[in-house]
């Protein structure tokens, strides 16, 4: 009974319910359709927006890049993978005189852009162009290109680089610049260096000439003289230059030269003097001295500071003389005698004269004294006398054979100068005799100085007994006797 068909109410309710359901579903469907449309539309809008932004970014990037490339002051050219010109920046267009050309083939590059081998009228082989080599994947460079424009030829240096994309060459880029300026700068630099070299050579020649001159002059004005004044070159010397130095002076003179020269012709005189002087010169120079001047047959030599050098030179001169005299006698000439006087002290060296005629000179009492001492050698018949000033400056007087000879008064002064004989150059006989007598001799001289002439005389007699050739002793003996007579006479 209850399985009757649903009641009418139920059916109505059901229908109502279903109607509502349909309505709801319709609503939902409408909503979903709107949603779908909305989402789709939105998606498209957003996509469009994003796409245009992306394009803009790329374009901006490209524009910036192009600006950079355009700003580069060096030529930039790009070929695409087929070798067709793709891009040439402003600097490049200025150099080439043209821009991107629609070439059919990469072989036409050199011809179309007028690229030649520098210094020739031969087109540059296209396969050697750095940009073409870059197309093959090579980094290449060349500096022998030349662009022939209607009005000028531009030397070019170029570098080619491949641009890869996924392993393949996508583009070939070349960078190139005008090297005319640089070449010119190089050429100028070369010229400059050559000029400098020439100047340098000229300078060397001048210096050589100056050196030669000074050398030649050295025979007239000794180098040492110049050096003492502080100069290297004769050219630098001025009038009035002077320097004060401690030196030793040697005067050497030929005895009775006037008499001797009268026996010779002028030519023979000249020859003789030169023979003599050139033999004496080494004795001076080998002992670090220099000859200041020749006065006829007389020699004046200077030694810087070392009295030993001067004395050694004097002894050397006497030894040379002995040999020279042997030579003379062998050919029948008479032997000559010389006297040497040596003094030491403070000398003034310098230049005197006028603008047109200058000479070097040495001024000093010491020089005059040396000359006087030399004069004494004749009186005492000994060849070599030195002053006490020289003796004091000897490093070790015991190295030499020395004995006192006299005390002289310097003109105009109250001082005495003691004069000594250096007899190293005596004959062996004479030297050993004098040395043996030395104690007696010194005693005698001492007594003489004390005016004990009688006792002094006796001792001098004793000296003469063993050494009759001792001229100094002989002179002093006579002196003692004379004094005694004089005193007796009073």
């Amino acid at each position: 009974m209850l399985e009757e068909q649903p009641s009418r109410e139920h059916l109505l309710l059901e229908i109502e319910r279903l109607r509502q359901q349909v309505k709801d579903l319709k609503e939902e469907k409408a909503d979903l359709e709107i949603l779908l449309e909305t989402t789709a539309e939105h998606s498209d809008t957003v996509e469009t927006e994003l796409r245009s932004r992306a394009f803009e970014a790329v374009r901006e990037g490209e524009i910036k890049l192009a600006q950079f490339l355009e700003a580069i002051p060096i030529g930039v050219a790009v070929l695409d993978s087929q070798g067709r010109p793709y891009y040439i920046n402003r600097a490049g267009q200025q150099l080439l005189g043209q821009g991107v050309l629609p070439l059919n083939s990469v072989e036409d590059l050199s011809e179309s852009y007028h690229i030649y081998i520098a210094g020739t009228d031969t087109l540059y082989p296209y396969e050697n162009l750095p940009i073409v080599r870059a197309l093959r994947g090579e980094n290449a460079a060349a500096d022998d290109l030349e662009i022939h424009r209607p009005d000028k030829k531009i030397p070019i240096e170029a570098w080619g680089t491949p641009i890869f994309d996924a392993g393949q060459v996508a583009f070939a880029m070349a960078v190139f610049q005008d090297v005319a300026e640089r070449r010119q700068a190089e050429a100028e630099r070369h010229k400059f260096i050559e000029k400098l070299f020439e100047l340098n050579q000229n300078l060397e020649k001048s210096l050589d000439a100056e050196s030669e001159l000074t050398d030649a002059y050295g025979r007239f004005v000794p180098h040492q003289f110049l050096n003492l004044l502080g100069y290297e070159s004769i050219i630098d010397v001025n009038l009035g230059d002077q320097v004060q130095e401690e030196m030793s002076v040697v005067f050497a003179d030929i005895r009775d030269f006037t008499t001797l020269s009268e026996t010779m012709t002028p030519q023979e005189n000249f020859n003789f003097i030169n023979a003599y002087l050139s033999r004496m010169e080494p004795a001076i120079t080998s002992n670090n001295g220099f000859i200041d001047k020749y006065i006829g047959d007389a020699i004046m030599a200077l030694f810087s500071d070392f009295a030993d050098d001067a004395v050694k030179a004097g002894i050397a001169m006497l030894n040379i003389l002995t040999n020279y005299n042997e030579d003379r006698q062998r050919v029948g000439y008479i032997p000559i005698q010389i006297g040497i006087g040596i003094n030491s002290g403070s000398l003034m060296l310098g230049t005197v004269g006028g603008k047109s005629r200058m000479d070097s000179t040495v001024i000093s009492d010491a020089v005059n004294l040396a000359s006087r001492i030399e004069g004494l050698t004749k009186y005492y018949s000994v060849p070599l006398l030195i002053s006490h000033q020289t003796l004091e400056r000897l490093r070790n007087p015991a190295d030499y054979a020395i004995r006192i000879v006299d005390k002289v008064q310097v003109k105009g002064k109250s001082q005495y100068v003691v004069v000594y004989e250096v007899f190293d150059a005596d004959t062996a006989e004479s030297r050993s005799a004098k040395l043996a007598n030395l104690p007696v001799y010194n005693e005698a001289m001492f007594l003489c100085d004390r005016k004990q002439f009688r006792e002094a005389g006796k001792l001098f007699e004793e000296c003469l007994r063993t050494n009759p050739s001792d001229q100094v002793a002989r002179i002093y003996l006579k002196r003692c006797r004379d004094w005694r007579s004089l005193l007796k006479g009073i």
Partner: protein, 114 residues
């Protein structure tokens, strides 16, 4: 109430009953948008008569995002408890086009495009 990340910020100002969206929303699907949907739901719960969605500083919204907002609007239409207003900006491209559809979903929705 606020959700804040590096990319976006969504916050509710009770004084003006306005939910402001700032930044860029590009979450990957309904699951990721769930927290925002929940925030919106809560706002609707506590809000007085009208709530405003301020999208003027929402620079970017992806499809899933517009989907989510649309669903919220449908929801509220069905519940019929609040009035809705949406503020947008003409200068943001998608807003000029897509926001109009919200009015189709909820006819009474006020749309302000400045």
């Amino acid at each position: 109430m606020e959700i804040k990340t590096e990319d976006y910020r969504i916050c509710y100002d009770p004084a003006t009953a306005t939910v402001s969206f700032v930044g860029s929303l590009r979450l990957r699907g309904p699951t990721e948008y769930e927290p925002i949907l929940q925030l919106l739901g809560k706002v609707a719960d506590v809000a007085p008569a009208k709530i405003t969605l301020n999208l003027q500083q929402l620079e970017f919204l992806n499809s899933a995002g517009i989907n989510m907002l649309s669903k919220f609007i449908i929801e509220e239409r069905k519940k019929a408890r609040v009035e809705m207003a949406v503020q947008g900006s003409q200068r943001i491209a998608w807003q000029g086009k897509s926001l109009k559809n919200f009015q189709r979903l909820m006819p009474g929705l006020q749309l302000e495009l400045v």
